[in-house]
């Protein structure tokens, strides 16, 4: 039953924070305190330099005890920053933590009215008066706890997802790792080397891939996608679509009673397959069959049938023989998972740089993207590591690198943000051609070189020292000499103040990056917000960089915004750590803001059920009639139901109608209650 009795004789304490000059610089704090003392129910008011500091919190505790307070008000910054701090202080003083109310006189006042001291002070008084009015009617509330399913889900098995899954698994948590492609490894496995150390990318990634494949706590589901998501922190139910790969793993074969069967990656099937398709892993520059693996180091080493191009001739089945690994009639399967927390690591795609027509990508053979360059220079790539011009197979000697190809672009065609790693990989590319091709000269067309990471600036010096030519100017146009297929690159050397026309053998475009194609769909399934550019939005860029606005869902890697490998791995470790906390605690606390139904008043009309954006409400039979019931763990306390309810049967905890009316009255009547 809901307790709607409120305090008979409220005794409120008000604490006004200076926040250094953040508040005191534009608000007369002393004046606000004097004003607070005149407000009804206020028995104590004081100001302090930093109320959030230990002595500041002590003042709250002491005042509660000495003045026998029934509620506290702190006029300071945003509740997002310090509400938990002051709630704790209120609790330490012996009150229920929900007997605390905050007035935001920093973000909503001193910061926005920096130069209007008088008006800002008047507004601060309003805010304090409103907060006191509510504080006088606050009630004791008890937080709810829900149990947490001891398992985690990681979506996306690039380097971020792999790292997050490994960390979770090594912390003893059962982890499901979902990957849409047939193999794990992501973009990093397509790279040749990594800056600034020039390690072979595959060499440092493959051990991690193998570890993921072997870890007992990781259940790896490749060629799978998230289909449906239901639930809330601690209790997510996720439906996974296991796409039909047409090939049985040894385990699946054993389950079907085929002894010693299943795919062992021998490749006999691939040899006989008559269908030839471009291999997307090699950026379409190498062929693959309809039954394929992307590259020799795939994990798991299982072939996959591309049913879009398979002609079902059956030659592979014959070649596979006794292993009976191939099933060309295989259908998609669905698996239901119960997990407590989720890490999203959805990765990125290359911006379709052909949209910027002036650089001639897809018009001229010798204009390639950086990802294509990575495959062309990679020893396991389509050319065996020999960099060649696509037009004639010749070795290019003069190679141009066009930085910011679509990044930092406000025209609406490109991307307004900096893609953050292009400067560095283009320096790396310049180094690679100097190293591999005698006499090769890289021309780097740049606007700024952003070498901000550890040892990055030193790497920049090194490439300069090796003889790369840096031209400060954005490439305005590229034209092809039809006879030689050489490229004329036009720009202004802004340091010379002179237009340049450089004839080059090949041009590499450092294309902008954008969220991967699946990001939008997947983030909607998990209810995660995104920024204007489509990158997943973290809960707070500084205070909660791995969390999202959906409790229990965390983000890692480039899906949150462009970042290089070290930053991606670091964030993945952070996300894994955050995702493991609720699981290790075994239960999560829910703010007691959920709606309550006063059953005597409920007419069972069910309108609220349809209005609820979180599917938190339902109608249940009770004593022979229908009444609304709240699933408290799902309720976010938005108040939609309470505002609608025609019978006034819905009671919003901590935002009760009397409390809100008191606030409105306090604002309108100006303190005279």
């Amino acid at each position: 039953m809901v307790d709607i009795t409120s305090e008979k004789n409220p005794r409120i304490g008000v604490f006004v924070c200076h926040c250094g000059t953040n508040i005191a610089g534009s608000i007369d704090v002393k004046d606000v305190v004097e004003y607070a003392k005149t407000l009804p129910n206020v028995v104590h008011a004081e100001d302090y330099q930093y109320v959030c500091s230990t002595p500041g919190q002590k003042k709250i505790e002491d005042a509660i005890k000495e003045k026998n307070l029934t509620g506290t008000v702190v006029a300071a910054c945003s509740p997002r920053l310090h509400e938990p701090t002051f709630r704790r202080a209120t609790q330490e003083g012996g009150l229920n933590p929900y007997r605390f109310e905050m007035a935001n006189i920093r973000e909503q006042n001193s910061w926005v009215h920096m130069h209007e001291k008088e008006e800002a002070t008047a507004k601060a008084k309003d805010a304090v008066r409103i907060a006191v009015a509510k504080a006088s009617l606050l009630q004791d509330l008890k937080p709810k706890f829900v149990d947490v399913e001891p398992a985690a889900l990681v979506v996306g098995a690039g380097v971020a997802g792999m790292q997050a899954a490994l960390d979770l698994a090594n912390a003893g948590i059962k982890t499901y790792l979902i990957e849409k492609n047939p193999t794990i490894g992501g973009r990093m496995s397509q790279l040749d080397k990594t800056f600034p150390t020039l390690d072979c990318s595959q060499c440092i990634l493959t051990p991690k891939m193998v570890e993921v494949g072997r870890n007992e706590n990781i259940e790896l589901m490749t060629y799978s996608e998230v289909e449906e998501v239901d639930g809330f922190i601690g209790n997510f139910s996720v439906k996974i679509r296991k796409k039909a790969r047409g090939v049985l793993t040894p385990d699946e074969a054993e389950a079907k009673g085929i002894v010693g069967g299943g795919c062992n990656g021998c490749g006999d099937c691939e040899a006989v397959c008559p269908v030839i398709k471009p291999n997307p892993f090699e950026m379409g520059m190498k062929p693959r069959k309809a039954i394929y693996i992307y590259h020799p180091q795939v994990v798991p080493l299982i072939y996959t049938v591309d049913f879009d191009s398979c002609i079902k001739c059956g030659l592979c089945q014959t070649a596979c023989g006794e292993k009976k690994a191939i099933d060309l009639e295989m259908q998609d399967e669905f698996v239901d998972l119960k997990v407590g927390t989720v890490v999203l690591a959805l990765g990125y795609d290359i911006f379709p740089v052909e949209k910027k027509t002036e650089w001639g990508y897809k018009q001229f053979d010798n204009v390639v993207t950086s990802l294509e360059f990575e495959r062309l220079i990679c020893a396991s790539g389509p050319t065996g590591g020999h960099l060649i011009r696509p037009s004639d197979g010749a070795t290019p000697k003069r190679i141009g690198f066009v930085l910011c190809a679509g990044s930092r672009d406000n025209t609406g065609i490109g991307k307004p943000y900096c893609s953050r790693f292009c400067c560095m990989y283009s320096l790396k590319h310049a180094h690679q051609i100097i190293e591999k091709i005698p006499g090769a000269v890289p021309y780097i067309f740049y606007m700024d070189i952003r070498s901000f990471g550890k040892m990055y600036e030193e790497f920049y010096y090194r490439i300069q020292d090796e003889g790369a030519k840096f031209i400060r100017g954005r490439v305005s146009n590229i034209l092809e000499d039809p006879a030689t297929k050489n490229l004329h690159v036009y720009a202004e050397d802004t340091l010379l103040g002179r237009p340049v026309d450089v004839e080059l053998d090949m041009v590499v475009l450092a294309a902008a990056v954008q969220p991967s194609a699946e990001t939008e769909k997947t983030r909607r399934l998990f209810g995660v917000s995104c920024s204007q550019d489509g990158w997943l939005l973290e809960a707070h860029p500084k205070l909660n960089p791995c969390g999202t606005t959906t409790a229990g869902v965390y983000v890692a890697g480039v899906c949150q915004g462009p970042k290089d490998i070290p930053d991606t791995v670091a964030q993945a470790e952070g996300a894994a750590s955050a995702a493991s906390i609720p699981i290790h605690l075994g239960k999560v606390e829910l703010e007691p803001y959920f709606a309550q139904c006063i059953e005597e008043k409920c007419a069972g009309c069910g309108m609220c059920v349809n209005l609820c954006p979180y599917q938190a409400l339902s109608l249940v039979e009770k004593d022979g009639r229908k009444v609304m019931q709240v699933t408290e763990a799902k309720c976010k306390g938005c108040g939609t139901c309470g505002a609608y309810c025609p019978g006034g049967a819905i009671w919003m905890q901590h935002f009760t109608t009397p409390q809100i009316i008191a606030q409105i009255d306090a604002f309108l009547v100006g303190g005279e209650q």
Partner: protein, 196 residues
């Protein structure tokens, strides 16, 4: 001429080279505002990548650097901007505007500066001859006999269906130019230039 400047005998050049620092006293604080008001574009967002100069058909053939004009507008270098003869080298082809990654219209910055220069009477005389040609014929480049012959060969009328065919409308054009005192200002500048 070239020899002279190498020996730094050119007094004008010498004056220019005496002090090459940017000093805030040279900056006219409302110049950028005026340019933005007329041009309806945002030169203050320029990050000096040089795409404009790189795209410019004038730049490889002249000393014209559109990037400088955008920069000088941002810094409020009104005197330098409006007295620079390069201001009149732009062909207004709009290549720079098409390619500017910051979505600025450098061409419109030039057009705005030309407007401001015109108000102050700083215009090359040949541009003003165009004004006079429009005033008398309705055309910046009036038709000539060679064109007439070519048009006839192509099966067209000798004169195009403009003020050439309907000279009675020239009066209307003159009325517009008079209203904005364009002819008056042009005549004044030409007269002053001829005096010199």
């Amino acid at each position: 001429m070239a020899k002279k400047s190498k020996g730094y005998k050119d007094t004008k050049l010498e004056e220019k080279l005496k002090d090459r620092y940017f000093r805030t006293s040279e900056s006219h604080p409302d110049f950028l505002e005026k340019v933005e008001e007329i041009s309806k574009t945002i030169p203050h967002m320029c990050y000096q990548c040089g795409t404009c100069t790189g795209s410019c058909p004038s730049a490889p053939r002249s000393s014209y650097r559109i990037r400088y004009f955008v920069r000088r507008a941002v810094l409020g270098l009104e005197e330098e901007q409006l007295t620079d003869p390069d201001l009149w080298l732009c062909t207004t082809c709009y290549s720079c505007t098409d390619r500017c990654p910051r979505d600025i219209a450098p061409t419109d910055v030039i057009m705005a500066c030309r407007n401001l220069a015109y108000q102050r009477g700083i215009v090359p005389v040949n541009f003003l001859k165009t004004v006079q040609a429009i005033y008398s014929s309705g055309h910046g480049v009036p038709n000539n006999d060679a064109n007439r012959a070519a048009r006839k060969r192509l099966g067209l009328t000798a004169d195009p269906p403009t003020t050439h065919m309907y000279p009675e409308y020239i009066k209307g054009i003159q009325k517009i130019l008079d209203h904005y005192k364009i002819k008056e200002q042009a005549d004044k500048i030409v007269a002053e230039a001829e005096k010199k």
